[in-house]
Amino acid sequence: MDMLPTPDTSHVSFDRIYEPYEDSYLFLDTLSSATEISFLHQRFSAAHEQHGSPMIVETGVGSGVVLAFAAANAHIILGRPDVVTLGTDINSFACHAASKTVETAISEMRSLKTTSLDILNTDLTASIRPGLVDVLIFNPPYVPTEDLPDAVKHAEYNLRSTMSPATSFARDSHLLALSYAGGVNGMEVTNKLLAEIPVILHPKRGVAYVLLCAQNKPEAVKQSIRQWGSEWRVLTAGFSGKKGGWEKLQILRIWREP
């Protein structure tokens, strides 16, 4: 397939919002790969219209580049023009920036347009009703770190108010850390999201795409997902930076088979 255009993020302030990086671009490539398009068409294309419009949800949208890409190309990726998207981020600045990224990408669509709902300022999938998500996307904070950013400080740093330069710098460091710091094995936030998957995904059609880096011990993660139950499937849907047999980054596809 021809390269689909990367959504514009020139309005995003990368001082406190994650800048699209190798992992983001791996999502664009994976979601638009022939294998994933074929898998997703089988599950969602117009033949399944009676189930209603498919819902794509991205948790931790950051700049919004991945959700905007999925929204603007939903007719190609899912094979139908009636898709709805929803995003979340714990960083309120990211919510505002990503709203603009997604809206801009959709406004450039020529045919029937994807419907973008909102970007919610929330933690992962909290506040979304269970069983509704058809396609879940998560590019987590995956870097192993000693600690996660201080949750107690978050309410203050999440305010969109003007601050002294020193506080503003501390705020920006906090907000950026939320986008990359993954705690033990870089898996603390990902583990939380993985635990939400069986609840939040649509019980029949739902599929999740979750990115891991090599330090996250991807084989152990896959093994633990297989232990959720015999209906669960997991495979590596995309990878980048293969070195000595190890993928630096990979995206897991996680789903149920009846």
């Binding site: 919510c95 919610l120 506040s127 009703r129 999440n158």
Partner: protein, 139 residues
């Protein structure tokens, strides 16, 4: 925040997950705005099977918006001809479909609060973005 979004949300607290009163959330002191959006008739038709109609009706009442029909509109209420293919030139969206587009996709809450009917927690909406983050003792 769009009215349609609210149909997919509930209170973020774990303690409320199994309560039928945690959905829908109740809007309070809201400022509404109509944000013009291209109509996608196929989307309006196909999202309806996923909408909790009773919750949507209740939301309209609480917001003082025009009352919705008791039962969810069917396909034949949405297009003016027998041909239900929205791409077909002889299939015109009805006023019902246009009203639903206006309500679900174009009507946005810009400022206000969403209140949980179970625990009473209030979530703020500012500049159109809803904040569902909880203080750590409430998660």
């Amino acid at each position: 925040m769009k009215i349609l979004t609210l149909n997919f949300l509930m209170c973020a607290r774990k303690a409320c997950k199994s309560s039928s009163d945690a959905f829908p959330l109740h809007p309070r002191d809201v400022e509404l705005e109509i944000v013009e959006t291209d109509i996608n008739p196929l989307f309006i038709r196909n999202i309806l099977p996923r909408v909790e109609w009773a919750a949507l009706r209740a939301m309209c009442n609480e917001l003082g918006l025009p009352q919705l029909s008791e039962t969810q509109p069917s396909c034949t209420d949405l297009f003016s001809t027998e041909n239900l293919d929205p791409d077909a030139t002889d299939s015109e969206p009805t006023q019902t479909l246009r009203d639903l587009h206006n309500l679900l996709v174009q009507t946005c809450i810009m400022e206000g609060k969403l209140v949980c009917g179970n625990c009473g927690h209030e979530y703020a909406i500012k500049e159109g973005i809803a904040n569902f983050l909880l203080p750590s003792h409430m998660v």
